[in-house]
Symmetry: D2
């Protein structure tokens, strides 16, 4: 029996998350790409801009309006504020919207306003939207028509902390998160900071305590823990193309041992295809998840300060963006959750 096939459109297809969506969807067994859109390159052939995709996707870039009318699912990868109108357009066209931007991630309008300097212009759509990190909120996703796809840092952090928080193994104050992201995380736009000679052989923090992913991280951790959580979050720019590593520091509650923690993580992720808890003594390394939808988590315990150190790694462009969006699509449309995401990470 032939499996169901759906029509997918991609808005923002020439951005980094967009082009990664094209690359992965072009090889998805249940999807046919029916339209791609890009404001900057409208009317051009995608493979003229991205020669890696010649023979893979030679379609011409159209307007969002045109492609929304001919797809069952629309992926949007746009600067914040631009996905709300798209959600409306999708609703009118009976298409599901999977938004890789920030518009549908925060439940609380005040928080959104504080960090993004904008209000919800179409508040009724936000009520219908779900925040979908599948390993935590899979059930909500199955019937949603607006899916807020998580940010890259928040994905690595929420998966890294959820079992410890859900099982009450750690103190909820004083959590420190030191994250490092590959340069694709900064997008395709040209900046001095991502100019090759400025980035290569360089390393520094940025936006310490001030990154817009902070409220999203706190929203998820608070929800999982069942209480308000504040964290300290410092991102760093890492001179690699892909990958996020988050080193998370927290204090074990009295009576809790490293063994309790290890057992809780192994149990939490036993049936999760895309989360791998590393054997004791090994370290989560971005190289082992590159180009895949995996999140690898390793657990380390500093007995002399009673500190649990959780290392969580993902490919920021796959599990942190396009891969997770496809995982969400698979859930929403009843496909195998791993469909289109079966390629294993290369060793190098």
């Amino acid at each position: 029996m032939a499996e169901k096939t759906i029509r997918a459109g991609i808005v923002g297809a020439t951005g980094y998350a967009g082009i990664e969506l094209v690359r992965l969807l072009a090889n998805h067994p249940n999807v046919v790409i029916t339209g791609i859109s890009s404001v900057s390159y409208e009317g051009q052939k995608l493979s003229d801009i991205y020669p890696n995709l010649r023979g893979g996707c030679d379609m011409v870039l159209e307007t969002a309006e045109v492609i929304a009318a001919k797809c069952d699912v629309l992926f949007a990868s746009l600067p914040h504020g631009l996905s709300e109108p798209l959600a409306k357009l999708c609703a009118d066209n009976n298409a599901v919207l999977i938004d890789l931007g920030a518009d549908f991630r925060l439940h609380d309008e005040k928080t959104y306003e504080k960090w993004y300097k904008k209000t919800f212009t179409l508040p009724e759509l936000h009520k219908k939207a779900v925040y979908s990190l599948p390993e935590l909120y899979r059930e909500d996703t199955k019937n949603a028509d607006i899916i807020g796809n998580p940010g890259c840092y928040p994905t690595s952090i929420a998966l890294g902390l959820a079992p410890a928080l859900r099982n009450g193994l750690i103190e909820t104050d004083g959590i420190i998160i030191d994250s490092k992201s590959g340069v694709t995380g900064a997008g395709r736009g040209l900046t001095q900071n991502t100019h090759y000679p400025d980035t290569n052989e360089a390393f520094s923090a940025y936006k310490a305590g001030a990154h817009r992913h902070t409220p999203e991280i706190e929203q998820t951790l608070s929800d999982v823990a069942g209480k308000d959580i504040k964290i300290t979050f410092t991102p760093h720019l890492l001179p690699v193309n892909r990958g996020i590593e988050s080193s998370i520091y927290c204090r074990l509650k009295e009576g809790i041992t490293a063994d309790h923690v290890s057992a809780a993580y192994n149990e939490a992720y036993a049936n999760e295809k895309f989360v791998r808890v590393m054997p004791a003594g090994e370290y989560a390394n971005v190289k082992n998840v590159r180009l895949s939808n995996y999140c690898d988590i390793s657990l380390h315990f500093d007995a002399h300060t009673n500190t649990l150190i959780i290392c969580s790694v993902i490919d920021n462009m796959v599990k942190g963006a396009a891969g997770q969006a496809i995982q969400n699509m698979n859930i929403r449309f009843g496909f195998d959750e791993a469909a289109g995401l079966t390629a294993f990470p290369p060793a190098f």
Copy 2:
């Protein structure tokens, strides 16, 4: 109707070409990996050595003898001289051997002896072996039981020069080939030269005019041209993980124009899934073929010296090793030639 499935074994599975074979075959629709072998790690789980493959291939490494007895095709990725006995073993087990090493590439024993300091110990096997660069020798491969898989540099060069030579467009003397290879080309073994701080931010030639791929290159070019060809070949070590770029310099024959050349290349590769002739003005770039089986070729013409410059790029580990080996397997067993090789190269 269910498609045919064959059983594959991999000898030398923990080397770089070996692990790339595992990664790709683990996702091949017509293959089940039934055995993997490694002298260095016998008895260990592959995913303990290569954590990227956890969940993808958690098999235990066995001996070559054990796995040869339970496969239809055996891939061997070994230092030269070790594949001949394997070929015998495969013959005894009715398995096809695809050899990624040098043992079955050179037709002439004297040439082999000159460059590798060994003789053919089982000469009758060499008579049955074919050298299989599919775009040039596809027909030979369909019935072969011993398949010599081409070297990485020779693949990029033969594909780059074949249309020009076959159509008699260039002078056959004075061809200069300046190649650059990513560091995986040097293998997994530790050397000072591939120690990170020695390789990073470094670049140099090596083995100028003395690389063992020279006779293989000349064998193919001579065969295609129908006359003896000698080339000057200089490889360089490039500080990237993957990719070979060959810049090839030759003189156009009198009366031949850039347009003749372009037409010949487009015609030669019109039906080739894995060779892409770039539009005029674009340059073949290793980044556009990474992790794929593509060979991209761009053509440039220096009118003031009447020199044709051919730039040919491949991923040394895919089209230059594991991918081409799978392509050969597909041909030999009647699968779609691109089966298991459909993932598109990432943009970054």
Copy 3:
């Protein structure tokens, strides 16, 4: 008036810290290198092993005994346990020993034994040794004949925390230190982990809560704070050749503001040639200190968790090893503290 010139010898000259000493001392106005030693390459010319130094240092490698007899200062860059006998040799030859290894860093023998599995075999020498991080202990260095040169991570961390601790601005418990080091920090010895294809495009933590620099860090911080301090220290391997970044997390004491902290740091380092406190809003970046003896420090404050984030960067091979050793030599012999260390970091 001609300035004083001293004779310097280097033991372990072919290791990474050793070769950096040669490079810098070969250009030092008050030093003539009179001998270099290496167990692995005895009898060979240094510039045959390190062609970058051809014309700069073409001396032949001798034994430690030979060179100790003809120098005023001996630099030793050796695995732990090997510098104690050298210290004896220096004492017998009236030479000053500057030890870049771990033998003379820890004051407490029990701590040394716990982390290095060895005892002090010549305890009387340890009484005469000083631990010399110049910005903190300059006075002790002026008359010392055995100088323990600090480790790379401890240098970045002690300089980053000293003003806050000395002035009682932060809580002394719960300090979290997340450090990242370039690959030269792992030395010249070949390991799978530092093989180019394994390191490039990779990133992970290692030895979380278990690195041998931990007791050295705690020794200095406790001394500066005047009370026992325990820290959580996690190093990471960073895919660059040079540079350490330490992101340090601590809680401000009640009543202390970001302005207090900034003022304390600017005052503490106002007269320090090699420590630069960055203007507010800028981030310490390893690229800005590469190949120099600088330590750049930036201060960031996360108000919503009352956390001070200190980013401290050095070149692990210069301020973290050879450069600081030369700084110590300059202090000990009465030269300008910056002599031989005046080259500015390149922009790229």
Copy 4:
């Protein structure tokens, strides 16, 4: 006796060659920087733009007019066409101009017009200008007031070929030059091509047979050979910050052996501080000349095609730009030719 000190100004100080000039001149024993200029950043402090130079050069950027009036030598690092008016300004101020741009490199106006689409607007200045590659034209430089500093590719190539051409050892037709340049060669301006994720793990040729350095290369080679020479020149973009490697292919004249060639090179450069001919069997590597004014040359001979392969490496920003400009200044003002250029290349 105190040595003479001169006043230097730098126009285009925030470009890559400019900032390298500042870095090197700030440490030059005979120079005081009296003015720096940048159209883009006028009025700002240089160290706010380049924090690596904090404490090294905290001067404010002024106009070219202001600084020309207070210096003995003016370095200009500007896009072509902008240095002619500066030369006039220098003449009026009795200052020597050292131009790192293209305006004073080509003797022939027609050639300049063909490649740069501009004419000589002040032809009398061109008559006074010299093209100064010191190892070839040192004598001309001693009295020149307008010095055209060679391009980076031409420097590596002219030094690589001069002894062979001057001594008539090679055929002068059919010379093929395959060059690779680090990314700083493309300058500080932002382009998609030099955006980190597009450049990292990438490699390709560009402007094959069409690079503007071609006429400069041919001008020098023709002059050295005493006859018109045409070469085929293909540059490539190399994913490192610094360094150029040129692999040069030519045919030995009848009767000439590898030994003749080796002897000629060793003799030609016996007294040249900055050119190192490598021992037989070693390869010139960009890592061995990084951050130094050296040019390393290695010679290789492919007997089976009678081809001489010359590998020549420089740091494009030092010997290929700022370092050579300082070398020219030293010659012009009678300083030690190596003054300010004594730092040895680091091993990593």
